[in-house]
Symmetry: C2
Subunit: 487 residues, 2 copies
């Protein structure tokens, strides 16, 4: 785990099926995504890792801006008294805050929190900028890093003391506007999971006892990991008027009457990257969907001395055509590595599509294409190579999506009793749907026994529960609870 | 200066010519670019300000990537012992470091610095990732915020304890590669000033006594502000092998012999935005070059009740055509504001081009265009409006550039004696070129008398000095020194 390690074995040695945690840690390092920092709980995001995050950002940032969001930047530090003010509304972040106490040689008069989240520094400005109904909706977002001093084991992108994220904060004139906003951001998160990351996911509400403190409703994206645990992939909160009332975010309507605004907040962190890596990758290394791969296609030329010039010229032509068609392509023409070595290296690094070009391909005017996820290979004509590659990249996406979808569908089960919940999750992992009375106490025996919890309930509050009775206490069920172990 | 201020006067009340500092502070707030944070030295970057920074980023980030740079992300915190290690090479940042001492309720075993710059956390990883000459050049960059606890007065974007910047760090096999890198980044900074920000600038070297500590050569972009002071607009450092030797960044060449790498670092901060705002803006408010303006064109329709429908329909058509042509356009069809109010507001906010559309324009199939910087107006036909607007945006850019260029050219003077340097800068500000022996002591009497200093010397070390003798001590001159007061 030390970043001082020198020459490591190139390939992955751990098994995804048998040692998911160790496999993940090895993969992240060997695929060049991240290294461990000298301080426990922190990581260094290497270029191949950061490039994935940048592409996730690009997709979301474009959608946010298309739907009225404007980026801003608020200070890294929050005065302690500002955090205290937020305590009226939300649980304190005190146990998790990193504190700045000195500036240069001087002790500060007031400690400064390194932002664990920015509600308490953003809300006072939202109050200042919101005067009239014409100022609404006010939609702010910032991409930044936050620090939460959690004492758990480091897992790159899943659990780190500092992490990168985006936090959106909006104010609206009424409940309807704020609720639409909450659902629009949830939809955009679901879209980035499904359409960009090739990950089908569930959407739902957090049970009342697990909402963001102060929120009226916390909606969530839940993604199933291959070890049967769920990841909270992003959240979007409808905050009602509680924050607006605490921070005086009020507006004058057309009749000059003052009202509190209805606010929302929503965020996605680089944990989404962790979920992406864990979902698709395998014992050969990283697997990425085409939209997020730093290189979408690698061309590996295969030559002998006498065929080298022809093969390379042909390969360069293919590379140029692919670039012109807008694909991200890399021609691996290294002299000091043989094709087999190159195959392994690019499989480790997660390039979705490999094109092999040898003397046969040159002679026949063809290319050989190999899909990273399943090794499926095909031969195609040299002409219209840009379109051919697009079709194969689409096929790679479809393979990834279908595989994740099949897994998810098979991992949603039902149970009618406490014993059945425990047994089903214990044996299979995944989600177990059960009738639930709505009392947090009914989660306790599941939590205590197998550390599973209610990770969501259906978005629609009017949806009839799956069973008439609560699987735990036998009282009438109010909702369908999704039990699962969680990251 | 409080962010609690409520209804302010809309327009700028200070004069750029007479109270540059107060004018700037008022402008930044009233144009909606930034507000003051509750902690002294920190600011809140509002959406209109952040959008300018995003566009500067986009230009540079694209050029960086086109020339082999890959973005990464290193931790926000640096252990104190790592900073100490860097002290072998560079002056300590100790007096300016914000220290994290507590995580949650626990005191940390080792204090963590909030990054003031990242050499000391990046270099050890560059050492780890550099094994063979095939790993070079290694080019890393990160966009992030840094904290330097300076006790000076806050000036948004110019002087803040936290600021946004980009820091590039590269390693190369030899001096030539690293020097080319240094100059390429300097060229890219010059290009963003000249081609994007419409600001002609000087490029040069910092005098040896003012280099980045540990650097072999510090190159700089210097931009002249309207108050006659210069701003160091970006720097690019050739670090030689000193950092590589301190941090063991070595590589094996083709013969397996180990060599220290030659490294560079280079950065530009949001101070560039400050310089941009200060250069072009005026007593009516913000002035922006088209490439950086959140809206490039505002359409103000002018109607009476009986002409309203026609005017609005026509204006909407123009807006659609401009959007389709790729321009960022806003149609200000607010009912509760008259055209004069709208003109003033958009002038304050720095929209480069205004299009006025009234019944006459509708009848004649025309539009009226007004340039923000100089109020120049023209009438043009409704057809091909996208091209017409592009021509006018280009004209606005040319006006801004020509004005800044004329100012700069008139503000580079020569002097042959200490008295002449003092008198010329004292009377006119700007740059004064003078012969210099190369001894830092000869800067002292100028610094002591009028707080001006040697802000640069020519890039070309072989360039003959402007005069034979040092203007201060009379010894033979080695170089031409550019004296100026500096931000």
């Amino acid at each position: 785990m030390s970043h001082q390690d020198g020459d490591q074995e190139l390939g992955i040695t751990e098994s995804k099926a048998h040692n998911t945690g160790e496999w993940y840690a090895e993969l992240v390092q060997k695929a060049g995504l991240a290294d461990y920092a000298p301080m426990g709980g922190f990581i260094v995001t290497r270029p191949r890792g950061y490039a994935i995050w940048e592409r996730i950002q690009d997709h979301l940032d474009g959608w946010f801006k298309d739907t009225g969001v404007r980026n801003a930047y608020f200070p890294l530090f929050i005065p302690e008294s500002y955090l205290e003010r937020e305590k009226d509304v939300v649980e304190g972040f005190d146990p998790e805050v990193a504190w700045v106490t000195h500036g240069g040689y001087e002790e500060l008069e007031e400690r400064l929190a390194v932002r664990p989240t920015s509600e308490s520094i953003i809300a006072p400005y939202m109050a200042q900028w919101t005067r009239s109904h014409r100022d609404l909706p006010l939609r702010l977002n910032q991409w930044c890093s936050v620090v939460r001093w959690e004492a758990t084991e480091t897992k790159p992108f899943f659990r780190t003391k500092e992490f990168l994220w985006q936090e959106g904060h909006t104010a609206h004139a009424d409940r309807e506007g704020a609720w639409e906003e909450t659902m629009m951001r949830l939809d955009q998160y679901e879209r980035v999971y499904e359409e960009v990351m090739a990950m089908p996911a569930l959407t739902g509400r957090k049970p009342p006892h697990d909402k963001f403190p102060g929120a009226h409703t916390t909606t969530t994206i839940e993604a199933l990991m291959p070890d049967g645990k769920t990841v909270q992939g992003a959240t979007s909160h409808y905050l009602g008027t509680s924050f607006a009332e605490a921070f005086d975010i009020t507006y004058a309507d057309a009749d000059e009457t003052e009202h509190p605004a209805h606010t929302t907040s929503w965020g996605i962190s680089w944990r989404a990257m962790g979920a992406l890596i864990m979902t698709h990758s395998d014992d050969q290394g990283l697997v990425l969907p085409p939209a997020l791969a730093p290189e979408q296609v690698v061309i590996v030329p295969i030559w002998q001395e006498e065929t080298k010039a022809d093969v390379l010229e042909y390969a360069e032509g293919v590379a140029e055509d692919l670039e012109a068609a807008g694909h991200r392509v890399h021609l691996d023409d290294r002299e000091n590595r043989n094709p087999g070595f190159k195959y392994n290296e690019w499989e480790l690094k997660g390039v979705p599509l490999r094109i092999e070009i040898g003397p046969n391909e040159v002679e026949d005017g063809e290319i050989t294409l190999v899909h990273r996820p399943d090794g499926e290979s095909a031969t195609a004509g040299r002409d219209a190579v840009g379109e051919t590659v697009q079709e194969h990249l689409d096929a790679v996406f479809a393979t990834l999506y279908a595989s994740a979808e099949a897994t998810l569908e098979g991992e949603i089960r039902e149970a009618e009793s406490r014993e059945e919940i425990l047994g089903t999750i214990g044996q299979h992992g995944g989600y177990v749907k059960a009738g639930w009375c709505g009392d947090a106490a009914c989660e306790e025996p599941i939590k205590d026994a197998i550390a599973a919890e209610i990770v969501m309930v259906p978005l629609d509050r009017d949806e009839a529960p799956i069973h008439e009775d609560c699987a735990i206490c036998g009282e009438p069920a109010e909702e369908t609870a999704y039990f699962a172990k969680s990251y």
